[in-house]
């Protein structure tokens, strides 16, 4: 098998197994990662880096980085589809027949209130926050991952 075919096979397997894992795990999280994303990455990393050690030992690190990149790209893309307000607006437009929406009507169903409610729901499910007597606070038991993500955000901003 040529190296080109090996890379293509890696990408195709990544996509197919991602689909299988998504139908199995759905949207289960171990914050901030989805099980489907994480286990798919591990599966492909172990499978293809072992194969590359056997057949293309010179390309072992390339195989590792291809899978790391695929993990990062799909993690971002799926996050974008599920949580990004801009992607939601675009998808809502794509789902409309004429690709157009009435702004005032749309604002009634999707606004800051909806954005906050969705996120609070997700953060509560992943146990990053807790709500007590109408007060929302960070869950100190789990705060490390949320702090870590916030640190990553501020780091990207600075580059």
């Amino acid at each position: 098998m040529s190296l080109n075919l090996f890379i293509i096979l890696n990408v195709l397997t990544y996509l197919i197994v991602l689909k299988i894992f998504f139908s199995f795990f759905r949207m289960k999280y171990y914050f901030p990662f989805r099980y489907a994303d994480f286990f798919n990455f591990l599966f492909n990393l172990i499978l293809f880096s072992s194969l590359s050690l056997i057949y293309y030992s010179n390309f072992f690190w390339i195989t590792v980085f291809i899978n790391l990149n695929l993990f990062y790209i799909f993690f971002h893309l799926i996050n974008m589809i599920v949580t990004s307000p801009r992607t939601k607006i675009i998808i809502d437009l794509m789902e409309k027949k004429n690709n157009e929406l009435d702004m005032l009507k749309y604002l009634k169903i999707y606004s800051c209130k909806k954005i906050v409610e969705n996120r609070i729901k997700r953060l509560k499910t992943s146990k990053q926050i807790i709500e007590r007597k109408n007060l929302i606070m960070l869950n100190k038991k789990n705060k490390n991952s949320f702090y870590f993500i916030s640190f990553i955000f501020s780091l990207i901003e600075k580059i």
Binding site: D92, L93, N99, C112, V116, E157
Partner: protein, 157 residues
């Protein structure tokens, strides 16, 4: 050899990313066109400098080079528009109520900024209070739409 290819393609991508951020390229089309031009220049320079390690494993190099491009590109949006989750986190450093968080996000013009950005990217246009999807980036948007359908994802926003 393998590590040289990785480091070389990552360094080239970081250089392009940093330069484009310094000169304020935020539109995807401009970023992508600039990247193609930059890659062509790199290709010719590498060819004239006889950097054999690239041409010997050209497919592997091009593949990892493109993947680094996508990874860095996807990190770009978090740089300019603060994610609502990040804003909520800022609010929650002290205890807060849902109403206060909503007010904070409204004061940060979370929704308006995104509509403005989509307009600047020429992905949507606004006519007589209607948001209309343009044909720009339709290939990329269709790919995103296909991923959503295929993985049965729900776009919650």
């Amino acid at each position: 050899m393998s590590l040289t290819i990785i480091l070389f393609s990552l360094t080239l991508n970081i250089i392009y990313y940093v330069i484009s951020q310094k000169i304020g390229v935020r539109q995807f089309i401009r970023y992508f066109a600039g990247f193609l031009a930059y890659s062509l220049i790199i290709f010719f320079v590498s060819f004239s400098l006889e950097l054999d390690f690239i041409f010997k494993d050209l497919v592997a190099f091009l593949f990892i080079y493109s993947l680094f491009f996508l990874s860095l590109f996807l990190s770009m949006s978090t740089k300019y528009i603060k994610s609502p989750t990040y804003l909520i986190f800022k609010c929650l450093k002290n205890k807060s109520t849902k109403k206060k968080i909503i007010n904070y996000l409204e004061s940060q013009k979370v929704f308006e900024r995104r509509i403005k950005d989509l307009k600047n990217q020429k992905i949507i246009k606004i006519k007589k209070n209607k948001i209309i999807l343009t044909k720009n980036l339709s290939v990329i948007l269709n790919i995103i739409f296909k991923i959503k359908k295929n993985l049965k994802l729900k776009s919650e926003g």
